[in-house]
C-alpha cells in the first residue's frame, strides 16, 4: 500500500514541478493526453484481441438456475440461459447491477459449532455506486468536449447537481465517488484477509482515482480554475487543433495527468475487468451443450483403449462368464 501511495504522491509532485518549475504546460496539457489516449486505445484493443485469439474449447457456463429439460419443469431463462436473449440478459444484469456480487453472503463460525450466513451487501452497494458515479462523472465531463453541449449532458448535470450549496450546484456523484473509494480502500486495509490478498496493483488505482476525484473537486469548489480556458484546451484536443490558454492553475494539470495515468495504466492492469466481464466463458455461454454441439478448434486425437484392446485382454474370461464377444476364442482353439 505504501508503495502505491508513494507512487501517486510522486506523480503529483512530478506534475507540480513540471508545470510550476519547468513550465511544461504543453507537455502535460497536450502531449501526455494524446499519448495516454493512444496507449489506452491500442492497449485495450491489443489485450482484447489477445484474449480473442485464445479459443473457447469447451462450453463451461456456471449455471445458476434450473436447466431447460422437461417441458413441465419451469426453466430459468436468465440463470440457465438457452437463448441469446437469455445470455444477453444475464450479462446485462451482471454488468449493470453486479448481480453475482449482490448474492454475497458472509460465512461465520459461531457458538456451538454453528456456521451462519449473513447477507453482505456493502461491497455490492459500494461497488455499484462507485461504478455508476464514475460513469456519470465521465458523462458530465462531455460538457468540456462538446460545443454546443448536448441537452442530455446538461440535464444529467442538473440532476446530479440537484442539491445546491450556496449559489453553486453540488454534484452528489462527487461525494459518492470519494466515499466509495474510501470505503473500498478501508475495506482492503482493515479486513485482515483483504489486506493479506491485496497487491500494490490493488491500491494504486484506488489512490489514482481518489487523487482524480479530490483534485477535480478542489478545482470546482475551492481553488477555482478558469473553466473557459479549460474548455478551450479540451476543445483544442478533441478537434486536433491543440491550443494552450493562459491562466489554468497547476491543480488542473495534476487532475489531467492523473486521468492520463489511469488511462495509460488501464490496459495493463486488473482494470481490464471492464472488458473481461463480457468475455468470460462461464457467463457468456448458453447452457445448451447437450442440445447443440460445441466445437473445440484444437480437438486433437488421443490415444485410447479400444473395445478390441479390451476384448483381447479379457475375451476368454468374458466367454467363460457367458458375456458376448466379437471374436470367440473358444471357436478358434
Amino acid at each position: 500500500m505504501q508503495f502505491a501511495g508513494l507512487v501517486v504522491v510522486g506523480i503529483i509532485m512530478l506534475v507540480f514541478l513540471g508545470v510550476q518549475g519547468l513550465k511544461l504546460q504543453f507537455f502535460f496539457g497536450v502531449i501526455i493526453p494524446y499519448l495516454a489516449l493512444v496507449v489506452f486505445c491500442l492497449g485495450l484493443i491489443g489485450r482484447v484481441v489477445k484474449w480473442g485469439r485464445s479459443p473457447v474449447p469447451f462450453s463451461i457456463p456456471t449455471v445458476h438456475g434450473q436447466q431447460k429439460s422437461l417441458p413441465w419443469i419451469k426453466a430459468s431463462a436468465i440463470d440457465s440461459p438457452v437463448t441469446t436473449a437469455g445470455v444477453v440478459a444475464r450479462l446485462a444484469l451482471e454488468v449493470l447491477f453486479f448481480r453475482s456480487l449482490f448474492k454475497n453472503v458472509k460465512a461465520e463460525l459461531g457458538e456451538g459449532r454453528r456456521l451462519t450466513f449473513t447477507w453482505e451487501k456493502w461491497l455490492w452497494l459500494a461497488g455499484l455506486l462507485f461504478h455508476w458515479s464514475f460513469l456519470v462523472v465521465i458523462f458530465r465531463h462531455l460538457r468540456f468536449f462538446t460545443e454546443p453541449v448536448p441537452a442530455v449532458v446538461h440535464s444529467l448535470g442538473s440532476l446530479d447537481g440537484f442539491f445546491q450549496v450556496g449559489l453553486q450546484a453540488f454534484f452528489i456523484t462527487d461525494l459518492i465517488i470519494l466515499a466509495t473509494v474510501l470505503y473500498l480502500l478501508l475495506r482492503r486495509v482493515c479486513i485482515p484477509q483483504m489486506r493479506y490478498i491485496s497487491l500494490p496493483a490493488d491500491y494504486f488505482p484506488l489512490f489514482v482515482i481518489f487523487g482524480i476525484a479530490l483534485s477535480g473537486i478542489s478545482m470546482r469548489y475551492f481553488f477555482k480554475v478558469d473553466i473557459a480556458a479549460v474548455k478551450k484546451l479540451a476543445m483544442g484536443l478533441v478537434t486536433f487543433k491543440p491550443v494552450l490558454p493562459e491562466g489554468i492553475g497547476v491543480i488542473f494539470y495534476i487532475h489531467l495527468f492523473l486521468v492520463c495515468v489511469l488511462f495509460a495504466y488501464f490496459p495493463f492492469s486488473k482494470l481490464m475487468h471492464m472488458a473481461g466481464i463480457f468475455m468470460a466463458p462461464t457467463r457468456n455461454l448458453a447452457n445448451d451443450s447437450r442440445a447443440r454441439r460445441h466445437v473445440n478448434p484444437w480437438n486433437y486425437p488421443v490415444k485410447v483403449h479400444t473395445y478390441a484392446d479390451y476384448e483381447a485382454e479379457f475375451g476368454r474370461k468374458m466367454e467363460e462368464a457367458g458375456l458376448p464377444v466379437e471374436n470367440s476364442q473358444a471357436k478358434v482353439s
Binding site: 485469439r53 456456471t62 456456521l115 496493483a201 447452457n287 483403449h305
Partner: protein, 538 residues
Amino acid sequence: MASVPKPDQLLKIDHRPPQTGWMDTPVVFKKGTYSHAAKAKNLEAVDLPNPRDWSPDQQDWKLPENWKEIVLEGLRERLSRYRSLQIFMDICVRCGACADKCHFFIGSGDPKNMPVLRAELLRSVYRKDFTTAGKILGKFAGARELTTDVIKEWFYYFFQCTECRRCSVFCPYGIDTAEITIIVRELLNLLGCNIDWIAGPVANCYRTGNHLGIQPHTFKDMVEFCVEDIEKLTGVKIEPTFNRKGAEILFVTPSGDVFADPGTYTLMGYLMLFHELGLDYTWSTYASDGGNFGFFHSMEMAKRLNYKIYAEAKRLGVKWILGGECGHMWRVIHQYMDTMNGPADFLEVPVSPITGTRFDHAGSTKMVHIAEFTADLIRHNKLKLDARRNDHFKVTFHDSCNPARSMGLFEEPRYVLRNVCNHFYDMPEGTIREQTFCCGSGGGLNSDEFSEMRMRGGFPRANAVRYVREKYGVNTLACICAVDRAALPPLMQYWVPGVEVAGLHELVGNALIMSGEVPRTSDLRGNPLAEGDGDGDV
C-alpha cells in the same frame, strides 16, 4: 478413516491470516491434509511422464531436469488454448467476494484456500513470465519466480480444491477456480506430480473400463449379486443383460454403485425400475464407468477415458444412452463429451419408450440423466409408487456440485423425491441448488489419508444437514452422486451422527410397486418397514 482430531478440536479455526506474506509462507505437508503421490506403475499404465516413486513430504521430488521449461511451456500453450485461463489470469480485482465461499477455507482457515489466493498461486507465476509489468516490477506487480517451492505449493493447494465451482457463482466476473485447478493439475502432471487416488483409478479405468479395476466377469457377478438381493426382498427375478447388441438403450453409471454400500442399493433401484418398465437396455462391462477421474487429471485424460462411452454405444448399435447418478460424470457428459468425442451422429435423439417424451435438450449429446428419465415417468403416471415404504426416512437432498452448477439439475431429483417420500425437507437457502456445498471429497480427493481435510471441507455441508436434522428430525441425506455416497457417510458420522446417505434411486426402488412382488417387509437395506402409520425407526 485415518485418525482425525475430534470435531470440537477441528473447529478451533483461526480465519486470520499469518504474519508472513503469502509469498513468504512456505507450504507444510501435514499428515491428513495431503494425499499420497501417484505410484510409478499407475503413470506408466497410461504413458505419463516422469513415473517414479516419491512422496510429497520428502525434500526431493525427483522432478525432471528441465522441469521449469516444461511448466512454462505448458502454461504458454494453455494460455493460447483456453480463453478462460487467459481472462481469469488478467481480470481478477481481488475483491474477496469468493473468500468465504470455499468449503476448504471455511473449514481450515488457511488463507491459500481462499479461491482468490489459490488462483494467485498461478497468477504470480503468470505475471512474472508472461506480462511486461511483472517482468519489470516483480513482487510489486504481484509476480514471483517459479521455484520448486511453488510447485510444492501448487501440488498442496490444487489438490485441496474439489473443482466444485461454488466460488464462481459469487465472482462478479465468473472467474472459475475449477478451470484454474484443472489447468494447474495439467501442469503438475507434465512433471509426473499427481496423487495416487486419481492416478490409480485412471490407470484402472483405462484398462478395465472402470475406476475400481473390476474385470468383465466380476462386473457381471457383482450386478447379479444385487439381482439376488432383489429377488430375496421382492420375489421378483430380474435378468439384466450385458454387452448386448441391438438393445435400444445403453445404461452407464459410476462403478462405485456396483462396488459398495450404499451405492449398491442405488444400483438395485436402477435394476428394479428398468425391469418393471420392461426397458430394452443393456449394461456394458467395457463402458462400465461413467465417472471420469481423467477429468481430475487433464482434459486429454478426460477425453481418453470418456471415449469408451460413445464407442460402446456405436458398437452395440443402441439408439441412445441413459446415465446413472454421478456428479463429475455428468459435468463431463453435459459440458465436454459431445465436444471431445462427438458428434454422436450414429445415435438418435433420445425418446422415452415408455412415455414417448422426446428429450430434445439432449438432442445432440444423446444422453439423458436418470433423474430426468424417472421424473418424466412419474409425471406420466407410469410408475406405481408407495411412498409410505420410505416413511421411516426423513429426507433432505444434497445437490451435488456438478449436476447443480454445471447442469442446473435441481427440480428433477426433487420432483422424484417428493413422489417417492412423504417426508422431504430442503436444507436452507444458500446451501442448496447453485449455492450447494461440496461434500469435501470431490475432484478426486476422496482418499483416506486426506481425511482431516475432507472433514474440514465437508463441514459447511454437514452444518446445513445438522440444521434440518435438528429442525425436522432428518435422518437421511439423499444424493445423486457416487462420490457423495462414498464420502458423505463418514462425513455424517463425524459431524451429524444418525444421518444415513441414500441414492435417489434407492428411494425409488423402495417405493416402486413391482408386478408380481411379494409383500415387502423390509427396505432395500434390509431394514424392517414399519406397519401402518409409517413412523417406523431406522
